[in-house]
């Protein structure tokens, strides 16, 4: 099954809603602590059966240090995927993204120091039809 953009958009909607709100987090933003790696976090709801997107932080969250994330899609029909870390799309730092399998991407980025509470993982995906979807989730919620 190929993932069309409407499905893609739907699948990411909850993620964008979570990330768009920004705001405070119960996690520290003073750059002093490290947060251990997270378990898988669903990036959104699923409209078409079998289509899910999931993000996992695969390293500790240490301001100033390298962090790694894995984004997976149950459908490989995404032409490209970009990951950025920051507080907005224009100043966020791009992560190095490698495809490690069908519908699996690993992102590596050096985290800002300090890491603001509102810092988000920003994801931009281009569907097989050429349309683009942007969404985000606060890093401390991953």
């Amino acid at each position: 099954m190929r993932l069309s953009l409407p499905v893609l958009l739907a699948s990411l909607l909850t993620l964008s809603a979570c990330g768009g709100g920004g705001g405070s987090s119960s996690s520290s933003s003073d750059g002093g602590g490290a947060t251990p790696a997270s378990g898988p976090v669903s990036l959104g709801t699923v409209i078409m059966p079998g289509v899910t997107l999931t993000a996992t932080r695969t390293s500790a969250l240490v301001p100033g240090a390298t962090a790694t994330f894995r984004v997976t899609s149950s459908d490989p029909g995404i032409a490209s995927l970009e990951v950025l870390i920051g507080v907005d799309w224009e100043t966020a730092q791009p992560a190095t993204v490698v495809t490690t399998g069908a519908g699996i991407w690993d992102a590596t980025v050096t985290l800002p120091n300090p890491l603001p509470a509102e810092a988000a993982m920003l994801v931009r995906i281009t569907g097989s039809d050429g349309n683009v979807c942007e969404t985000s989730r606060t890093v401390y919620r991953l």
Partner: protein
């Protein structure tokens, strides 16, 4: 004034007579506004304003991809500008039915545009087409449905998309530069995302600010 009750008084040499009260209702569109279906639509839309409530019906497959299908009620504008509206209602013809405020370069289906909208049941979003006949880009906003406020501003090439639950506290979805002609169309856009069906959206508190006179 629309909504006001009026009585007619007729007077002649025999005296005068007063009619029963009648309420004057003014509908249509304010001066300068026009409405049209954009792109391929299978049902004709409409737009009217009654007592400050804008009712827009629109068909069309979507505002998306490289060509749009929807109803647009718009005003020519130019330069720096903003449009704000409260989407008070939206018929959920589809989870991706959309109603919101749009700045559009032309009325061609593949025109460059920017659009802040509410969807049927997929929350708020900011969309745009950065090049004529090009693909579209989506950025999700808060997961709100109508009623909620939507806003789009342009300052120079800078577009800012925001939404608000109460019209006071605003959440910015996205800001970015978009190359677009100085002279544009600005207004309200509605698509049913179910071509052939009409989606009805209602708006209030529609406010347009443009710092330069519209180019003719």
């Amino acid at each position: 004034m629309s909504g006001t009750q009026y009585r007619c008084v007729a007077t002649n040499s025999a005296g005068s007579a007063t009619s029963t009260a009648a309420t004057l209702t003014v509908s249509g569109l304010p001066t300068g506004w026009s409405t049209a279906d954009i792109g391929s639509v299978a049902a004709t839309g409409s737009a009217s304003v009654t007592n400050g409530v804008w009712t827009v019906t629109g068909s069309g497959a979507d505002i998306w991809g490289n060509a749009d299908g929807f109803r647009f009620v718009s005003l020519p504008a130019s330069g720096d500008l903003s449009i704000t509206a409260r989407v008070t209602g939206l018929t959920v013809t589809n989870a991706w039915a959309k109603a919101g405020v749009m700045v559009r370069e032309t009325t061609a289906a593949g025109s460059r545009n920017a659009f802040t909208c509410l969807t049927g049941s997929n929350g708020s979003s900011y969309q745009r087409r950065l090049s004529t006949n090009g693909k579209s880009t989506y950025t999700g906003g808060p997961a709100w449905s109508a009623p909620a406020w939507v806003r789009l501003e342009r300052v120079g090439a800078r577009f800012i998309s925001s939404v608000s639950a109460d019209g006071t506290t605003w959440t910015e979805i996205r800001r970015e530069n978009i190359t677009m002609n100085v002279a544009v169309q600005i207004g309200l856009a509605v698509t049913s995302h179910a071509n052939g069906q009409l989606c009805t959206a209602t708006f209030s508190n529609v406010t347009v600010i443009s710092t330069l006179p519209a180019a003719n």
